[in-house]
Amino acid sequence: MQNHSVEMRGIVKRFGSVTASDQVDFSANAGEIHALLGENGAGKSTVMSMLSGVYRADEGEILIHGQTAKIRSPKDAAMLGVGMVFQNFRLVQTLTAAENIVLGEKSSFWRGSKWIKNKHAEIEALGERFGLHVPVDRPIWQLSVGEQQRVEIVKTLYRGADIIILDEPTSVLTPGEVEQLFETLRVMKKAGKTVIMTTHKMKEVMASSDRISVMRKGKMIATLDTAKTGELELARLMVGREVIITRQEREAVQGKPLLTVNHLEVTADHGRKALEGLSLSVRAGEIVGIAGVAGNGQKELAEVLTGLRAWKSGEIVFDGKPVKTASVRGAIDAGISHVPENRMKSGLAGRLGSVDNLLFKSYRSSEHSRFGILKAAKNRSWSQELVQRFNVKTPELDTPVQQLSGGNQQKLLFAREVSHRPKLMVAVHPTQGLDVGATAGVHELLMELRGSGSGVLLISEDLDELLQLSDRILVIYGGSIIGETDHEHADREEIGLMMAGIRHREENAV
């Protein structure tokens, strides 16, 4: 057997009822760039967080340079030479790059100008060696995201890490910076370091790595040599083998067009283009699935449709009327309901009880309040009824919803969103983090909604879910829809390729 610099055996990590990492075996060698590939939520970051001491594994063992290691904290990991560059940087904005890098260093009490000068030189030399230009004396807030990342990398190198983990390092970089980063990774590799990089971008994996481990739904699927594989195989591994999917029985869609979006252009935060000429339509009584790798504009699409984000140009027609401005109230009143991506972040108020959480969207209506005064007793009995109808298990109506299980929280959220008979539901990852039973419950609710003539726009990264529920699947890539299949002809391999930005016809032509 080879002597691996990192070896993880049978790693299990559970968060409540969700198993984020299920008997994962992983190993990486010194002098290689190892890519950990998988969709969002596949468990890549969880596994790497255990290696760097942010989480602790429930089961399994970790070996560093062949020796069993007890990694209880990031400090332990650092002692073993494991350093992690997080997706969101851990830098002090007001300190300079050099100050951030030496932060936490225990040596030398007196830090005069000479000491700083020496450190600057040392850091610059280190950066140069790995092809990382770091503006040592500038405060972090003045640096671009790419520069900040370089500071983070130099920080881990400066602390003597020889196992370097980069969590989605390319997600924040421009194409030029990505190339530069890969060059640095190659230098590190030549210097005998172990480089592990998590990503969901296949092209980058092919371009930079030596070996690739693919994860899916918390399980390690395969480890391959980059030279002996291709994007096709990787896509197949990422989305899973052809398993028999029980498609939900249904009548054909005959509804009238409900939502039409034409050439939508949306600028996201920091001026990045999020949607570019996106067009789609949803008919009444139809579930339209949006497949795609995270970060291709799904979030922005959902936000625009629910009034949370303004758009630059393009046309949105809902229920025969053009939508003029982004307004949450407008969207609610028009009959668009929203199951947001992260239910506890924006969908529910964890500290409040069920009644307050159910009233979110409807408290302004005359049914629930009059002259600005809430109809307390009526709202209570209405909530009680909803909780029963949707089978939400809560000890009491006033129990803070953060104490409910994820499945019950989601049921409560659906109860609210369905209660005011929406014409269109925009559901974003509605089953994320739910167990099998709760997932089935959510699917049933979505099918019921379809049956009652509402349209559903289902944005999900779970291809199985999309195949099971959707009448049509649209694939979003780079802010526009690049492919469409109906559910009779849906082919997961083709969808998987389109999700990676590869169109089937192009592939044939090559």
């Binding site: 942010v54 602790r56 949450v328």
Partner: protein
């Protein structure tokens, strides 16, 4: 708050400790951001701990803490004079504390009640100076309106920078306190100085028509009713109205509030207007009910003490009545121990200690100790 890729609980530190059987287990301290509501008894415990801590200082001064506390208690609540004085002190605390509680409910950290109170007092005094001959009802009403308006304006000067330019309200509200206090100095030394005042700083004495009615021969004025009515209105608004629901939602989860179509900025402005307005009433009541003229040091830090009062009441309107009376008593009790040779600053010491334990408790509550193999 916590980094994105950490769940609600994150391990902060861990220490390995061998237990009796020699097996190693570890204790770790976990931060759980969902535990953001401390239990009802935490304020009570804070008060008890503060009393214990200050007992050490009293004992170090060579006195028996029990006697001192007893003396304080008697001074504040034991006699009818003491008790009415306690209530007099409780009035500005209640009004300012209520204003602070409204703002804190949606995490708008207004620490400018002191300044808002001061400008309220100044605006009320302006009525007496520029409209000296109004009949009682009109004088009092106009003073009240001016006081509220000035306080609200001061609150607005904190709210607008926050909503439109992202300026931290902690800084602006605190800085505006100094602006208000300096403006007060200016008017009492300058234009509004009493010509018959032997050159002492201060406005002319208010007439009877410009003074709030008092209870019998005591100094207890009708400001207490203002405070209680305000608490009642606030309680009803929070509990039963759409507006109260919206505040509750913003307080619990601003993201969720945005998602429910609530304009948070608008609410910040409304809340700061109310917060400042209530402190303005307190200022008006102080000049019109207690001092009967505008002078330096119109507030011995009511606006700051009210922060502790609001916090100790856990922003609960009914709790505010209890805590403001308690703190009023603390101030009066502090005066009464001066006779036995202790400085009255003992009451400030107690106030500080209470806040300290309260905040520490709030923090500690978010951690839990886990034992794991």
């Amino acid at each position: 708050m916590s980094p994105k890729n950490m769940s609600s609980s994150a391990v902060l530190e861990s220490t390995a400790v061998p237990d009796k059987s020699g097996k190693r287990f570890s204790l770790r301290l976990e931060y759980d951001s969902s535990r953001n509501r401390s239990p009802w008894w935490s304020p009570v415990l804070s008060v008890i701990l503060a009393l214990l801590l200050c007992a050490v200082f009293i004992a170090a001064n060579g006195m028996n803490p029990v006697t001192v506390y007893e003396k304080m208690f008697r001074g504040a609540f034991g006699t009818s004079y003491g008790f009415t004085e306690t209530l007099v002190k409780a009035i500005p605390l209640l009004l300012c504390g209520l204003g602070i509680a409204v703002a804190y409910r949606i995490s708008v950290w207004n620490i400018g009640a002191e300044g808002q109170l001061t400008v309220g007092a100044m605006a009320a005094t302006a009525v007496t100076i520029y409209f000296p001959d109004l009949p009682s009802f009109w004088a009092i009403s106009l003073m009240l309106v001016f006081g509220i308006a000035a306080g609200a304006l001061w609150g607005l000067m904190t709210a607008i920078p926050r909503t439109h330019f992202g300026v931290n309200e902690l800084i602006t509200s605190l800085m505006l306190n100094y602006v208000a206090l300096l403006a007060l100095d200016y008017v009492v030394f300058g234009p509004w100085k009493d010509p018959q005042g032997f050159n002492f700083p201060g406005s002319p004495m208010f007439t009877a028509a410009q003074s709030l009615p008092v209870l019998g021969t005591t100094r207890l004025h009708i400001g207490l009713v203002f405070g209680l009515v305000a608490v009642l209105i606030y309680f009803l608004l929070i509990k039963f109205t759409r507006w109260g629901y919206e505040l509750r939602l913003i307080g619990a989860n601003p993201n969720a509030a945005k998602y429910a179509g609530i304009h948070i900025k608008r609410h910040i402005i409304i809340v700061m207007l109310i917060s400042g307005g209530l402190a303005g009433i307190a200022g008006m009541a102080e000049v019109s009910g207690v001092t009967h003229k505008l002078m330096q040091g119109i507030s011995p830090g009511y606006g700051y003490t009210a922060i502790i009062v609001a916090w100790l009441a856990k922003l609960n309107p009914l709790g505010l009545i209890v805590t403001s009376v308690l703190f009023g008593g603390l101030i009066v009790g502090g005066y009464s121990v001066q006779t036995i040779g202790l400085p009255s600053s003992i009451s400030e010491l107690l106030q500080g200690a209470i806040l300290f334990f309260l905040i520490a408790g709030e923090m500690i509550h978010r951690f839990r100790i886990r034992r794991s193999a």
